[in-house]
Symmetry: C2
């Protein structure tokens, strides 16, 4: 089951239709992990989402960046919306936590520990 | 850094050399998740490990099965040893938990909940 946000631009899955293996695959890339960590920090700070080029960890080719965000969106990890000429992305933290309890906590905990190395 | 067990047959990584993304990739497949769940149950039951064809969830082609176990071993998830003509596999649960706290708990929790569906 899908719902379509904005101008039928982005398709976001219902988390209950996302298999664990798909969620783990979306997280199994260091660039995507960095994006998730960045969007989580934005969420914790009360931010309203981040543009792709702000959330991405470094200068990426446009197609590469777009592909990473598509994988994250397809796995139900992020919600994307058009805002003017930008695409703004938010982590679907509460929904992911409800579907996969403890998973993002564990992943972000490791990421934070690594960042301290 | 690697250590080699048995007759230089299998190479097992030191968990500290395994990036989170590699661990998540090894877990991002439903067959491999089923193997991990099965080996975890064996460990909890005090078992001494399981042969590949016992731990695998179904009849798999030999090459497919071997590939799954290689991916799990390369990511530091399992230890394999020759026992007679068989290969016996154990989940490296304590080491994985020490390196990635809460990750296997979260993954196995979702797997158990799905199994109840």
């Amino acid at each position: 089951m899908f719902y379509i946000s904005g101008m039928a631009r982005f398709i976001h899955p219902d988390l209950k239709d996302v298999p664990l293996a798909s969620m783990l695959h979306a997280l199994s890339d260091s660039t995507r992990l960095a994006i998730v960590r960045c969007l989580n920090a934005d969420l914790l700070g009360g931010g309203g989402g981040l543009a792709c080029n702000i959330a991405a960890p470094e200068e990426l080719a446009r197609a590469t960046m777009s592909n990473h965000f598509t994988i994250l969106r397809t796995a139900g990890l992020i919600e994307s919306r058009k805002q003017g000429t930008k695409v703004v992305n938010c982590l679907r933290r509460a929904e992911v936590d409800a579907r996969f309890p403890g998973l993002l906590d564990a992943v972000l905990h490791v990421e934070a520990a690594n960042a301290l190395d």
